[in-house]
Assembly symmetry: C2
Homo-oligomer: 456 residues x 2
Amino acid sequence: MTENATPSATLAAFAAGLQFDAIPAAVLRRTEDLFLDWFASALAGKGARPVEAIESYARAMGPADGSAEVLISRRMTSPHFAAMVNAAASHYAEQDDVHNGSVFHPAAVVFPAALAVAQELGASGRAFLTAVVAGYEVGIRVGEFLGRSHYRIFHTTATAGTLAAAAAAGRLLGLDAATMLHAFGSAGTQAAGLWEFLRDAADSKQLHTAHAASCGLASAYLARAGLTGARQILEGPQGMAAGTSSDADPARLTDRLGTRWATAETSFKFHASCRHTHPSADALLSLMQTHGLQADDIASVTTLVHQGAIDVLGRVTVPSTVHQGKFSMGTVLGLVAEYGYAGLNEFEQHFLAPRVAAFRDRVRMELDPEVDGAYPQRWIGKVLVQTRDGRTLSARVDEPKGDPGNTLTRPELEDKAQRLAAYGKAASVQEMQALIARIWAIADAPHIGRWLTPAA
Amino acid sequence: MTENATPSATLAAFAAGLQFDAIPAAVLRRTEDLFLDWFASALAGKGARPVEAIESYARAMGPADGSAEVLISRRMTSPHFAAMVNAAASHYAEQDDVHNGSVFHPAAVVFPAALAVAQELGASGRAFLTAVVAGYEVGIRVGEFLGRSHYRIFHTTATAGTLAAAAAAGRLLGLDAATMLHAFGSAGTQAAGLWEFLRDAADSKQLHTAHAASCGLASAYLARAGLTGARQILEGPQGMAAGTSSDADPARLTDRLGTRWATAETSFKFHASCRHTHPSADALLSLMQTHGLQADDIASVTTLVHQGAIDVLGRVTVPSTVHQGKFSMGTVLGLVAEYGYAGLNEFEQHFLAPRVAAFRDRVRMELDPEVDGAYPQRWIGKVLVQTRDGRTLSARVDEPKGDPGNTLTRPELEDKAQRLAAYGKAASVQEMQALIARIWAIADAPHIGRWLTPAA
């Protein structure tokens, strides 16, 4: 590329030119981690009403067979509809990954597009991983570029996600830099997704990822077929930022391409609760493990938190729904104390269990100057525990579990994946064990084949 | 509906409840005119590179048979892809209709969705016409609501068009008011389309209508399947206007519903160029006829225009493609001066002809307060001409040819349709004669069947 290349062109050239061998091994391993985490999130969406509505549309409008797999239904169709349904499914349980700086959930848009195209092409595991990294690197930078003003109205996962999906699909299709830029143009001009649905608790969140993944994938195929797009869809005077942001910074689009691996900055969600509860939950878990405590050993817990946690969580004392339970600090700590984890099943089955409720009433929050001062750059967790035998114990974590500096181990990811698959009743423990083994070896796979659908 | 209904809810209830018998006969006849004009515009897109790229995607991703017809290919597929391709095709030749006040091309998004759903359902001609009117009435009001600030960055046909397509599809599917409102929510949160592509003469215009028609249709089917959407996607605090407009007026959404028939305000295009060039072209034609001038008699032309014309046309100085030529005021006026008409064939054959190019360079645009103030309700054309023999002449037209007060007759529409079909090499004269007869009788058709594709 020339020195005068625009940010859009530089980013497209990076995505088109990314080589497997240029990606550090640690980033590739993390990408495999993200793949398992996404795969299981997609399975967790099985049976959910919005997801099944989108799947019913895909069945009605798409072909009854094809080269790409709808994971929740164990059926094959065209890449367009496989990407659409898998994207909807993986954004349902709210357990898919998140990149903090861009406030963007990359997995739910990148993997559906990459998997569908890789299956159609019979691409290698290396090509698949390379494309996924291209999608993450592009989408995260687009999200950072669009900025906080964009996020106030627009669901960045939907908008930046369309570019991310196009980048991943385009890399697998082998688009050259100029053609990738056309794909970006077509993706950006289809990018959409408004937060308005939150006001009505409507189903648009899954529609957003379905739309982003399918339109992004379409943009890459259309570019290959010769459809041209705007060359500065991101930063141009009538482009995405001009239309939907007031604080866009084009320098973010090309920030340390090839040296900063934003993919590896992505966080895994560990607990299924509001993120403001995670630091305290992790500190409590740490304390109980260090001192060998059971829930019954604990007389009271004081969580030392930032003001934002009190603002968001302070309203919920006795939760009446699972959703409210995810915003109840006492409930989250009760689940953690009882089950070692506040996951989807723990919430569904136990959020009002007598022992959890009793623990909940022994928890209080207190503003902590150090924690509050560090927020939001750092999410420190601190707890003080009074034991029934009279001891006062304390613990802290400097980074919530799942963040890059405190990431999930592969055994932890496997455990989470099993729980997600069980939640969706979408795969057996044995099937998941086989899938997990395949994912850990994906860099050596000669072809991305089927995962759950029997051969015809 | 209650007195407290929101504008979105009132508009959705109108679309859901519209009855054939409530539509004045003159509006229905105009709707038939618009259908023929759209049908022929779709045929004119056959063979066009961007259209065929989208059709190749539909062939790859959609089913190889189905209930809905891709007109340019004489093949059947699912409604999703038929709507997608027909929408792309009908917005290629720039001969499809336009509603001035909303700066919106309703046909290219409403008819593709309505035709596909009507074919799938085997709906009657009356049901089809009713749904089309619902789509026009909704889309036009959404376009007016989003306003001029929206149009500066966004292609209103793409954005408002998604709602229009959803309304037409939803009416045919028999959605009740509440379900139609969910369809609006899903449509609005997928609505997209940026003008940035014009800068590069890229192919996004056809992608925009393809996207709007298919996503709007999808929104209606998804609502029927139970997917919920935001209830105030248009006017809510994180809705379309909040994200993409600074001058939105919610009162426009419900302006005289059921008494003002915006459908019949729609203009037919006479010249094959961007509509913003038409008032000036007609004024120049009028001036040349009045004064008996030839192109060579003219030393310079100043077109007195509204700001929107400068925004859309101002960046094209020397066009390098036919498409850019249609957005070049100088080229359009050069064709008009040389050939008396800027039609499809004139563009294809002469847009860079030396005499046209020389005339082009003698044309400039200037903002005119009167023209700008009247826009977009009225598209006044004013030109000032300096003749080689030293005279300064001026002319104005208050309504360009094709506007409601200066509309095309049925013989003129039939002639235009034949020329469009011939341009696309998509139907013979005899086939068009039969299609035209069928369209003029469509209100009596018991079922909307196939048009060009032989029965399997």
